[in-house]
């Protein structure tokens, strides 16, 4: 038998944290089946009415809006992160490597509020973008970017692009560069080499990155709340509003639960599609 000194000491604290966290998730589950009594913080008895209420078109729209936000954010993050990841791996200068890496990951550590506030100043009617456009005479009245889905997507991409970049870089770094050389020695140009060798081999990184971007966008609260300004309702802003404006915690819980199920379904779908693509990519490169 293998010796496992101090096993209990190592695992017990983690067990406590895991237990507390699981209990919190069970609390969400439990509250979502309880009745809401207006004016009371304590929930009432068992009911399914919270879930029949979710079917209401207004909530359906919030789910559709959130899905669209997640989709666009993941897509644009990928489009921006890919060239950056390639550049990081292909450059020979150490200075360039450090510069790209440090600048690209900074938004990950900036916190939702600082990032969101900065984007408000960039996107506002008297903000940077509009000042430049008006100053150059390109437009004659401010372009509305605040309180729009476009504005929210721009600010969210700024946040999710770095994590997609990190995951893509990790995946691209593990591709054997000799495969590129082989393709080129067989007469493929740089574009063809990229499309037939590099791109298919990077599918696992693409999947990991877009999945994370998707989950993070779903989780985002301050950005849709402040830049959306009530015009861009997502599941997260709805949960907060239902919970803290009307204190209907049972309904907030059932919305959260529906959101959780929804995320896992979408992530499972992405995983399923990816599994179909990855083997194809591998045989392609071999």
């Amino acid at each position: 038998m293998k010796v496992r000194p101090y096993l209990g000491w190592f695992v017990t604290p983690a067990g406590f944290v895991a237990f507390g966290f699981s209990a919190a998730l069970v609390a969400v589950l439990q509250f979502s089946f309880r009745a809401y009594i207006p004016g009371m913080l304590e929930p009432g008895g068992f009911t399914l009415s919270n879930f029949s209420e979710i079917v209401h078109p207004a909530y359906g729209r919030a789910f559709a809006r959130t899905l669209a936000l997640c989709f666009y954010t993941a897509l644009f993050s990928l489009i921006l992160a890919y060239p950056l990841a390639l550049a990081l791996l292909r450059t020979r200068s150490r200075f360039m490597r450090s510069t790209i890496l440090v600048i690209a990951v900074t938004p990950l550590f900036l916190g939702e509020i600082v990032r969101t506030y900065s984007w408000i100043i960039v996107l506002g009617n008297q903000g940077f973008v509009n000042s430049v456009l008006l100053g150059l005479g390109i437009v004659d009245k401010p372009v509305h970017l605040m309180f729009t889905t476009t504005g929210v997507v721009v600010a969210l991409v700024h946040f999710t692009m770095p994590i997609v970049f990190v995951m893509l870089t990790a995946a691209l770094a593990h591709i054997d560069r000799n495969l590129d050389k082989a393709a080129q020695s067989l007469g493929a140009g740089p574009i063809r080499t990229f499309l037939t060798v590099t791109l298919p081999l990077s599918v696992p990184g693409i999947v990991a990155g877009t999945t994370t971007a998707f989950a993070w966008t779903f989780s985002a609260f301050a950005t849709p709340q402040l830049i959306g300004g009530g015009q861009v309702t997502t599941i997260s802003t709805l949960v907060y509003q239902v919970g803290f404006a009307s204190f209907n915690f049972p309904f907030a819980a059932s919305l959260s639960l529906a959101g959780l199920v929804f995320t896992f379904l979408v992530l499972a779908l992405i995983g399923f599609i990816a599994q179909r693509i990855i083997p194809a990519g591998e045989t392609h490169a071999r």
Binding site: R4, P5, Y6, F10, V11, P13, A14, V17, A18, G20, F21, A23, A24, L25, A27, V28, F31, L80, L84, L88, R97, S98, T99, I100, L101, V102, I103, V105, T106, F109, L110, E112, I113, V114, R115, Y117, S118, I120, I121, V122, Q126, G127, F128, G135, M161, P162, T169, A170, A173, P190, A215, S219, F221, A222, Y240, G243, A253, S256, G259, T263
Partner: protein, 269 residues
Amino acid sequence: MPAKLVSKGLKVLGYLVVAGILGFVLLPAIVVTVASFNQSAILAFPPKELSWRWYINAFSYADFGHGLRNSLVVTFWGSSIALLVGGAFGYALFRYEFRFRRTLEMILLSPLVIPQFTIGLGLLMLASMISVPRTYPLVVFTHTVIVLPFVLRSVFISLQNFNTRYESVAASLGASPGRVLTTVTIPLLLPGLLSGWLFAAILSFNEFTATLFVANQATHTLPVAMYNYVREYADPTLAALSVVYILATAGLLLAANAIFGLDKVFNVD
């Protein structure tokens, strides 16, 4: 010849694209810095007059000072507890087989995919069900749960690069398991543990959404105080505070890059 032209064209295009993307990443930081020195309360680009008044305002606003104190307390305890719990568990996970190993790992890594508003809401409801007041321990526990996956990840990376021969040598020379752990294993893992703590602390210091749910007026952290400010006032005080934030974070990142190497932390070597 055309192939060479194509590759040269691609190279120039590549530089432009990379510069453009990095510009996009830096744009908000640059704009917020310029805005923070704007004399008037109404935004204008470029600013007509410069002043430090918003910095003075940011540092004298009582709610920010209060939030900062709470943030420091919560960040310190949250990431330190996460380091102890995560360091020990990461070690057991890597070296031992035990019951519920997979289940525990899955639960503790799940905050990476479970939305923060759900985590905050769940902990708030749990606290109200078992009558725990919304004081520091609740906020600290919330932060511990959220940063734990990142600590686990960095412990794992350190253990992967760990040479187990040192431990065998110490054991064969007669050191007890406890002695091996305290004189060989922990000192060798220390840099990895410290980098894990540093990243946990940065994340915890910036955590907002879950904290908004579990904190009250007395325990709200700096990001929550900033959120409250932005909803009430439109002046550039927050721009000044953001600049301080950005400089502090950039400084920590540069330090982390110099000490640990960011490419190692992100596994992009």
